[in-house]
Amino acid sequence: MDKVRKIGDVVLSFENISLSFGGVKALTNISFDVREHEIRAIIGPNGAGKSSMLNVINGVYHPQDGEIVFRGQHRRDMNTYESAKSGIARTFQNIALFKGMSVLDNIMTGRNLKMKSNFLLDALYWGPARREEIEHRKKAEEIIDFLEIQHIRKTPVGRLPYGLQKRVELGRALAAEPSILLLDEPMAGMNVEEKQDMCRFILDVNDQLGATIVLIEHDMGVVMDISDRVVVLDYGKKIADGTPDEVRNNQNVIDAYLGVAH
């Protein structure tokens, strides 16, 4: 697979990140980095700390120890608003859509940080507010086209099947025009066709929109096929890091997944 965009410099790196909840150590001394335009996978058995890692990246969790370097800025932790503002968007393991709103409205919420109009102008729906609303609607429709969900744009998301909901959630994340996209098990619970569609969307996002992607996924076939580099966690510790081939042949990884004889 040849990419239009070449993998660039490190945009995000972690130095000895540790996170614990009371006595439970979710992450211990995790260090790895993410390069621009790459697809970086995080894998590991259940409870390895993968989702916690994503939550650290976009500021939902605050690590007790370690350092994050984001675009050259050294910092202790991230916060949700700033990370959204600086172009980090994500999807969730258990779909976190706004169930009472339509597909279109869900995708429009993804653009909220790009909207400048205040609530008084919104209330009047006049002049700039109206223009802005329609301009963002255009962008939202582009995403709807891209994800091929035109037919359901006015349907409340609560009524959609699981696979489509996952797609809408990706749409909401894309609406923010993210530079870094965090995907938490985007293919969980999907059938083969839906997985193929989702892979195609992820590769297109990476290729055409140039977004850096950090991906958690359990389907090893998918991970090995589409990711550039893989980091493997087990019990909150990093046990391997490298290209899919390196990781596949790493003894620690094989042990973690298949178990070892004691």
Binding site: V60, A84, F98, T109, E133, A176
Partner: protein, 363 residues
């Protein structure tokens, strides 16, 4: 057969995102508005619509609709349960009263807006707990608003202009040298205010601010991650909601009751408005109006029905039984709605419209 959108193509996003994208809806709504503004006064002039209709049905219906709309913004759209609606109405009413009383030449509309802003400020203060607690616990904390405001207005004589009984008489509504004395003119005044505020609310809920409320309601974690700030969003919902309730309270005092005491804004009133939202439909502008119509009209129809029962069956019902029956029917209906259609009358209307689109075919 008639309610069908076939052939209505939209060629711009502006056309698709208007309030009523379907032509039949636009025509129907236009007719209702025209009837409310022109038809009703015309019927009144012909003597078909009586004074009683204005003072006991139409005006309170509109005022309660506005209050229900205010609560709906907070509870239905932003998902923050509140039992303090009547308190915000009281702030609006007494705020407007004092602005009128103490500032010479204060225009009545400005006094209403200022009263609403006072309510919004109180709403923000009492909305602060919503940043940490939600659901029933938040409802319990808004009860504090209810009791505190009524107690405070009663206790501090300044608010009621040191009237010994605590009752205030609202000043006359005067605008551009015209005094709104008749029940019909008051109805038209209320109708104007409610129409404008409803339009503004509709615009808010279909743009970014409304989406931020619904996002916080449906999934606050995800809302935060995509960049909505929970504190701002929730307090904004409290402010806007309280503003609406405040203006409704001012209208309640000025255009409906005329004289009002702090105790008039008690917990019962808060609950009545909450029932309107539940029965009408949480998270729907139309629902606020349907719920209000239901609760204002139900007692009247029940009364007529019981009277009819008495005369036709020659029953000797003890006096006061009709109000007891009213309460029972009320309670029964609320339970019925919560079980059968938690989204209220507005949802029934929606389902009806979907059926009507296909009629006479089943699908």
């Amino acid at each position: 057969m008639f309610y069908r959108e076939a052939g209505q193509f939209k060629s711009s996003y502006a056309a698709d995102s208007q309030i009523f994208p379907i032509r039949q809806d636009r025509i129907g709504f236009g007719l209702i508005i025209a009837f409310a503004f022109l038809g009703v006064p015309l019927l009144a002039a012909l003597g078909i619509v009586s004074n009683y209709t204005f003072t006991a049905i139409l005006t309170p219906f509109l005022i309660f609709s506005l209050a229900a709309l205010g609560l709906n913004i907070l509870t239905g759209y932003a998902g923050q349960l509140s039992l303090g609606t009547a308190a915000f109405m009281a702030v609006g009413a007494f705020g407007a009263y004092n602005f009128m009383l103490r500032i010479d030449g204060m225009p009545i509309l400005l006094a209403f807006i200022l009263g609403g802003l006072c309510a919004a400020a109180v709403g923000i203060v009492f909305g602060l707990p919503s940043l940490r607690i939600r659901g029933f616990y938040l409802a319990a904390s808004t009860l504090a608003t209810q009791f505190f405001v009524v107690w405070f207005v009663t206790k501090v004589g300044w608010f009621t202009n040191y009237s010994t009984s605590g009752v205030i008489s609202a000043q006359k509504i005067r605008m551009f040298g015209y005094t709104f004395n008749s029940s019909m003119s008051k109805y038209l005044f209320v109708l104007g205010v409610v129409s404008v505020l409803t339009l503004l609310a509709k615009n808010m809920v279909r743009t970014n601010i409304g989406r931020s409320w619904m996002a916080i309601r449906d999934m606050d974690m995800a809302a935060e991650v995509i960049g909505f700030r929970p504190m701002r969003t929730k307090l904004m919902a409290f402010a806007v909601s309280s503003f609406y309730c405040g203006v409704a309270g001012a209208l309640f005092a000025y255009a409906y009751l005329g004289t009002v005491e702090p105790e008039g804004f008690n917990l019962d009133l808060s609950f009545r408005i909450l029932f309107m939202v539940i029965i009408g439909g949480a998270g729907s502008i139309l629902g606020s109006f349907l719920g209000s119509a239901f609760i204002v009209l139900l007692p009247i129809f029940l009364n007529i029905f019981l009277l009819f029962l008495e005369t036709s069956l020659h029953l000797e019902l003890p006096s006061g039984i009709s109000s007891s029956i009213e309460l029972m029917v009320f309670g029964g209906l609320i339970i019925f709605f919560l079980i059968v259609e938690p989204h209220g009358l507005a949802r029934l209307w929606q389902i009806g419209k979907e059926k009507l689109r296909l009629w006479p075919f089943p699908h």
